[in-house]
């Protein structure tokens, strides 16, 4: 793993050149029943950049992440006001089709969750859902499978047993597969909810490396409770506390010269 700080400086110019927002929120409030989990979130998350969200448990970082593809709504008792714009379109507009949102915004979960089918079927699952009217030959599908697995650096390991059950892979491989199966759907944003928390240090390093690989091609928003990981694997960093955004700057600045006392205290490990 290369040093994150090094890469931050090299990508700095790219960030400034590219000002289109991947995710923009304004006055976003969210309640679970009576409990308010997010307060007035106003964020501008840039396109093509790896942005990490840090903060103590229960600060609302996962909640925020899960509202960007509206997967929170599965719970049924979530109330939201304000807006989240994904590439300029408010995804909470009543006209919006949920399936289209999820096509644009892929998600990787905390625990790897491959479907209990073969590796090949896992990769093609999303692709088949969204291309039901078009005919794809077996060769086309093979190509998609290979390309996706190549991108997550998993192809060489599994190319000879694509028919194996995905749930038999190691956790690290499962998590990579979960990232790979998003790619054929061609999302523009990848949400990652503590993607390494179920992995060992070696697996973590591998997945972080992969995140770096994918940066630029996708806008990546990654929630982590691991500050070292945020520092290594992200270009911008958002610090949240008690449902509010405290600070949002370049990762390099955040860890060297935090602007707020709360941020400084958290980074130094005084709480959390």
């Amino acid at each position: 793993m290369d040093s994150g700080i090094d890469m931050n400086t090299t990508t700095q110019t790219e960030i400034e050149a590219n000002t289109e927002l991947a995710i923009g929120t304004s006055a976003l409030n969210l309640w679970y029943g009576d409990f308010q989990a997010l307060y007035d979130i106003n964020l501008a998350i840039k396109q093509g950049v790896v942005t990490s969200m840090i903060g103590p448990s229960g600060c609302g970082k996962s909640t925020f992440l899960r509202s960007v593809n509206r997967i929170n709504e599965r719970l049924g008792y979530v109330i939201i006001n304000g807006s989240i714009d994904v590439f300029g379109n408010n995804i909470y507009d009543p006209e919006v089709e949920l399936v289209q949102v999820r096509k644009q915004v892929g998600m990787v979960f905390q625990r790897p969750n491959p479907l209990p089918t073969s590796i090949r079927e896992n990769i093609l699952f999303g692709h088949k859902l969204h291309n039901r009217d078009k005919k794809y030959s077996r060769d086309d599908e093979d190509e998609i499978v290979e390309e996706s697995l190549q991108q997550v650096l998993l192809w060489d390991k599994v190319k000879d047993h694509l028919k194996r059950k995905a749930t038999e892979l190691s956790l690290e491989e499962q998590q990579k597969l979960c990232i790979a199966r998003l790619l054929p759907v061609k999302p523009r944003i990848l949400l990652m909810d503590e993607p390494c928390s179920a992995l060992d240090p070696k697996g973590t390093a591998a997945v972080e490396e992969l995140i770096w690989e994918l940066r630029g091609k996708y806008s990546i928003l990654i929630v982590t409770h691991n500050m070292a990981q945020a520092r290594r694997a992200s270009e911008e960093c958002i610090f949240m506390l008690m449902g509010k955004v405290i600070e949002h700057t370049d990762t390099a600045d955040m860890f060297v010269t935090p602007q707020h006392q709360e941020t400084a205290d958290y980074i130094e490990g005084r709480y959390g």
Partner: protein, 310 residues
């Protein structure tokens, strides 16, 4: 010095002492063991009893060809009694088959609704109602077949008799549906939620998630549920006796009256002389039914257990 050592020995408990708690513990262990194995002993006992009662027939009058391949069940014929159960098997099979055609869509549909769509109070209420439906005595279902379905079928299809395969199949299907729903719902609930979350996050609609992810993951449990329904259909007696018309007949349409294996035993056993060939033939039918339902239930159980393990 003496004082200290005296205190130590005085406080040492007698490790050989057995108080009332010890005896109660032992007794309870034996009682529980006995009641635990009694179910097995009873089942084996019943099987042995049925076999012994039917054995005389198996040795003397039994002909494999006649028993399984002849449609003539005429045990009371004075000159030449025949014991063919082909028509009875056809009756049982056709009624069970139709019952499954009715029950599978109903139970799968309601299991999917209860497990995947219904929430909160609706779900709890439905579950209680389904359990209640499963507890309706079969004679009540038979009564519904006789007094409601019978005239309804005569009216609707303009046939002379409403007690037939259609009637019994529908009644039996409705009877089997609640238990099948219960088991299928358990199977769906056993599918980990992270599969649904994964499929939904990939952009699947509610139905796509169910159809492409949940149902395949639950397929063994669902199959087990259906097989238990089949077992129920084979073994059901009273409702079938009342709704089929109880006429020995090789059926050619759903409007034909038939007679089931179980109903034959129920109707005739009380009127035969104990130990007569007729009596023993009925027990042979019993052995046959017992074997079939045992195999079906065992298969269903193994399949359902299979998913629990994995």
């Amino acid at each position: 010095m003496n004082h200290a050592s005296g205190q130590q020995t005085g406080n040492l408990p007698d490790i050989n002492q057995r108080n009332a708690d010890w005896y109660i513990d032992k007794i309870v262990q034996y009682l529980v063991f006995l009641s635990g194995i009694s179910a097995i002993i009873l089942i084996v006992g019943i099987f042995i009893f049925v076999t012994i009662e039917g054995f005389g027939f198996l040795l003397e009058d039994f002909s494999f060809r006649e028993f399984f391949l002849s449609p003539w069940w005429e045990p009371t014929d004075d000159d030449e009694p025949t014991y063919g159960i082909l028509a009875l098997m056809a009756g049982t099979a056709s009624v069970t088959g139709l019952a499954m055609l009715v029950a599978i869509p109903f139970s799968l549909g309601s299991a999917i609704y209860v497990a995947e769509f219904a929430t909160g109070k609706t779900r709890e209420t439905l579950k209680v109602l389904i359990e209640l439906l499963a507890a309706i005595p079969s004679v009540v279902w038979g009564f519904i077949g006789l007094s409601i379905m019978n005239p309804l079928i005569i009216d609707l299809f303009d046939v002379p008799v409403g007690l037939n395969i259609l009637n019994a199949g529908v009644i039996l299907g409705l009877m089997a549906a609640p238990i099948m729903t219960s088991i299928c719902e358990d199977a769906l609930k056993a599918v980990p939620d992270r599969y649904r979350e994964a499929a939904e996050a990939l952009g699947g609609t509610r139905w796509q998630v169910i159809y492409k992810t949940v149902l395949p993951a639950a397929k063994n449990g669902l199959l087990g549920g259906v097989l238990l329904g089949v077992g129920r259909g084979f073994g059901e007696t009273m409702a079938v006796l009342m709704a089929t018309g109880h006429a020995i007949n090789m059926p050619s349409s759903v409007f034909d009256s038939v007679r089931a294996l179980t109903a034959t035993i129920a109707a005739e056993l009380g009127e035969t002389a104990v130990g007569s060939p007729h009596y023993q033939a009925l027990f042979t039918i019993g052995i046959f039914l017992f074997t079939i339902t045992f195999i079906i239930n065992l298969t269903a159980d193994l399949i359902v257990r299979g998913i629990r393990k994995s």
